[in-house]
Structure formats: structure tokens, C-alpha cells
Symmetry: C2
């Protein structure tokens, strides 16, 4: 849902997570090293990103790797484009 996506993107820490993941998949722990917050808080942010389908996760042994999923961003793009196009139609 668009609401979930935009809500997920509205937090600076979550956007920073996505920026990190642009470089490729990372485990929760690796991501955590770039932040001050506790693992529990990070996990919470990751779950929001996951619910918004902005990231996917894959378990590999002890680690869980997170990967960015840009396809959902295209929905926001479309929504924004509709403003740039439709205005005053």
C-alpha cells in the first residue's frame, strides 16, 4: 500500500538503512554497526521496511540478510508523476 511505503520512508533512519542497502545486501548486525540505536530498535525499523516491501530478508545460517527492493518505489513514482501530469487538467 502506498501509505505503508511513504510512512516507511518518512523516517530518516529508515532512509539511511535503504541508502546502505543500495551497496548490496547486509545482515542486520552489519547495518546496526552504522547506527547508535539498539538492535531491538533496528529490528523494529527493519520490520517496517519489510512490511512496506521496501526490503526483503533471507536467512543464511545465523545471519539474516536484508536486501533493498526498489520495485515498490516505482509506485510512489507513479503517484508523484500523476501530480506533475494531471495538474489543472
Amino acid at each position: 500500500m502506498l501509505q505503508d511505503t511513504i510512512k516507511a520512508l518518512s523516517d530518516p533512519n529508515r532512509r539511511k538503512i535503504l541508502e546502505l542497502l543500495k551497496g548490496g545486501p547486509m545482515s542486520a548486525g552489519e547495518i546496526g554497526r552504522h547506527f547508535e540505536m539498539t538492535g531491538a530498535t533496528l529490528s523494529h525499523h527493519l520490520s517496517i521496511l519489510k512490511k512496506a516491501q521496501l526490503v526483503s530478508d533471507e536467512k543464511k545460517g545465523t545471519y539474516i540478510y536484508y536486501e533493498i527492493n526498489t520495485s515498490v518505489m516505482e509506485d510512489i513514482m507513479s503517484w508523484i508523476v500523476s501530480f506533475l501530469e494531471d495538474k489543472n487538467e
Copy 2:
């Protein structure tokens, strides 16, 4: 600032306001007729949209007309495009 823009867009009522304004400028009162919320609450939302430069306002006599300003949305576009492009570079 990107943060202001995304934050402003993260509320469904504010997005609905922008959808309304796509059709052309409207006064605060006209906008309010499309919502349940009080005028005070609407005014609050409008001020957030204004701070984010997503709308501009123009006083005409007793009324204040609000107009959508799509140029800021292009900043979000660029931000999103940077994900679609840079990934795994």
C-alpha cells in the same frame, strides 16, 4: 528539505488535500468541506504542507487560496530515481 517533504506527504489527509488542489486553487474553507476535521486541524495540515513548500497561499480578500506546488515533488523523484539507478553500482 527532503525530510519536510516526505513527512508532509506521509499523512493521508494531507495527500488528499493535494489531490483536491490538483484541480486548481481552493480556499481553506472549500478544502475543509471535503473533510470531517475541524478548521483548526485543517489549518495545521495546511501549514505543514506550506512549510514543505508543497502548497503556496495567496490572500484574496476574506479568503486564502491554496495552490499546489509540484516543483518540490521533483526532489523526491530525484531521490527515488537515485535508488533505481545506483543500486549495486
